[in-house]
């Protein structure tokens, strides 16, 4: 199997989490005897956050290394870059990041959340519990723009107000971030919805309090800010910020206890997060599909994967036969001073992925 996550570049922290989650699952499965009595053997390359490198290395894996199944990519730009190579070689890509939806390929299994499994719930939670005046800030690429489209639609449909919508370069530095923070201070929103990523997101959180903004009264809400990045920012600076995700390290279930124990044993005193967990979970889904398919053939694997269910660290996960995306359980977490999240709301059951949902109506909107 191929593993293709950036260990350097703008999203190196979160993609390294993808990488560690993948490694952990492979090692766990191999320690138990592998699949069909054979070990999983991984080949990993580092595309360094560069779309061209993603494409080149995916081609190298599929042609030179004769690999047919790749676990990799995080941002949509990297997925779009490898997709033609994957399809041409009839290979299978396991993609574990949440993303904006509006895609289906018979050669991809999408295990991350789409907007009907995170954005909508976050908007509903914020409107109900935090207020109606939103300030949107994001990195300038497709995911923030689509997330903000959903946020704006939902907020405006339900009587809220978008005070401003600002985009910064993905590598935005301190000066640009401070300018936005001054604008936020002036606008005094109830909530700041941030889709900044990587280093600039972390600096944004670090600077937040020094600009006199209090997370407890004016939280930053995010779809991506999870435990490992909170640790790097400094958890004491983050208490009160809100994140929507399908996994939090603080979940109490047998599978998560096992995952966290294995993680600590392997990687020491670092937190697990939605980034490492989804990568870990999708390798388990793959192993189960491979077990029942008995073949690395793309069509056989996909058919088998659609019948697999896995009690993952985030609960029961399965792949929708109609669209190759995952049934996941949306959750809202509020950051604590120790860097973990208190889950303040979660869906009663896994939610069907609906990657082509472009509008979010009134029905079933308010969280039960």
């Amino acid at each position: 199997m191929g593993v293709l996550y950036s260990r350097s570049g703008a999203t190196s922290v979160t993609e390294s989490e993808h990488f560690f989650g993948t490694v952990l699952a492979i090692e766990e499965i191999n320690a138990l005897g592998g699949v069909l009595d054979r070990p999983l053997v991984a080949t990993a390359y580092d595309p360094k956050g560069d779309s061209n490198e993603y494409r080149r290395l995916a081609g190298k894996m599929l042609i030179d290394d004769e690999i047919n199944v790749i676990f990799g990519c995080s941002r949509s730009s990297s997925r779009k870059a490898v997709l033609p190579v994957i399809e041409r070689n009839n290979a299978l890509l396991w993609y574990c990041s949440f993303y904006e939806g509006f895609e289906y390929s018979p050669n991809v299994i999408y295990t991350g959340a789409v907007p009907n499994q995170n954005s909508v719930q976050l908007a509903a939670y914020l409107l109900k519990n935090r207020g109606t005046r939103f300030f949107l800030v994001g990195a300038d690429y497709i995911y923030p723009r689509e997330s903000n489209r959903v946020m704006r639609d939902v907020v405006e449909q339900h009587g809220g107000e978008i005070l401003d919508e600002v985009y910064l370069d993905i590598d935005a530095g301190k000066a640009e971030l401070e300018e936005v923070l001054r604008d936020i201070k002036r606008a005094q929103p109830d909530v700041v919805f941030s889709t900044l990523v990587g280093e600039s997101a972390r600096v944004f959180y670090q600077l937040y309090r020094t600009h006199g903004l209090d997370p407890k009264t004016m939280p930053i809400a995010s779809l991506s800010m999870a435990e490992e990045e909170i640790r790097l920012i400094g958890p004491e600076l983050c208490e009160g910020h809100i994140t929507a995700a399908t996994y939090f390290g603080s979940l109490k279930n047998e599978s998560n206890r096992r995952f966290v124990a294995l993680w600590r044993q392997r990687f020491g005193d670092r937190p697990t997060s939605t980034w490492s967990e989804m990568a870990y979970t999708q390798v388990h889904l793959f192993a189960r599909a491979l077990q029942s398919a008995g073949s690395l053939d793309r069509a056989k694997l996909v058919n088998a994967a659609r019948a697999v269910k896995f009690e993952s660290p985030e609960g029961l996960v399965s792949i929708d036969a109609e669209n190759n995306h995952c049934w996941l359980t949306p959750r809202i977490g509020v950051c604590r001073s120790d860097g973990e999240f208190d889950v303040v709301w979660e869906a009663a059951a896994p939610v069907k992925p609906d990657p082509y949902l472009s509008t979010f109506g009134f029905s079933e909107f308010w969280l039960g």
Binding site: E103, Y104, S105, D354, Y356, L357, S358, T359
Partner: protein
């Protein structure tokens, strides 16, 4: 973004889509993608002689094998038309042009591209419809303009009015009678013709 444009993709879950294509893997790719998008849809085969009446969008096969039968064109149908084309050979291209389709998908079909084509076809269709409406309105305006001019000339001749007076007269009558100037001019022309026929016209 205008609400008209947004409607093109926002109401995709409420529209009726008909796919006219023989069963098989190719049709499955299109049908399954339309299901993922969430359209209400049904399939029809063999090719119907009349276009399905209740459809908002029709995906239909274009191929030489149809022997020219069962082709209706965009102007006959109230729906957006997307052609599903087997080949890109000149004869197929000719057939494609004859359909006046708003969009086309060519084999091999893939999932990506279907949504864009669907949205673009609906947009072109509604644009065409608006343009058609505008053209009809303009043609009607030109027709009535000629009529008004003719009526004005009649008034100038028979009532010895200047041109501005003739127009002013028709305008005033139109206001009093609560009808359009075009209708007043039609009455004048009709009355004039009737007098002529009765031999009571001006010498």
């Amino acid at each position: 973004m205008s609400s008209g444009l947004r409607r093109l993709y926002e109401d995709l879950r409420g529209i009726n889509v008909v796919v006219i294509y023989p069963p098989g893997e190719d049709r499955d790719i299109v049908v399954q993608q339309l299901q993922r998008i969430g359209c209400r849809m049904r399939t029809v085969w063999p090719f119907p002689a009349e276009p399905p009446g209740d459809a908002d969008v029709i995906f239909f096969r274009v191929t030489q094998e149809s022997d020219g039968k069962g082709h209706w064109t965009a102007t006959d149908v109230g729906a957006a038309l997307v052609a599903l084309s087997d080949y890109e050979s000149p004869t197929t291209l000719k057939l494609l042009l004859d359909t006046n389709a708003h969009g086309v998908l060519t084999k091999p079909f893939r999932s990506s591209g279907i949504l864009s084509t669907l949205v673009l076809a609906r947009s072109s269709r509604s644009f065409q419809e608006r343009m058609q409406g505008k053209i009809e309105k303009l043609e009607a305006t030109i027709r009535s303009r000629r009529q008004i001019e003719k009526a004005a000339r009649l008034l100038m001749d028979s009532q010895h009015l200047t041109e501005p007076e003739a127009y002013e007269h028709m305008r005033t009558r139109a206001t009093n009678l609560r009808v359009t100037v075009a209708e007043v001019s039609a009455m004048l022309i009709e009355a004039h013709d009737a007098m002529e026929k009765l031999g009571l016209g001006r010498k």
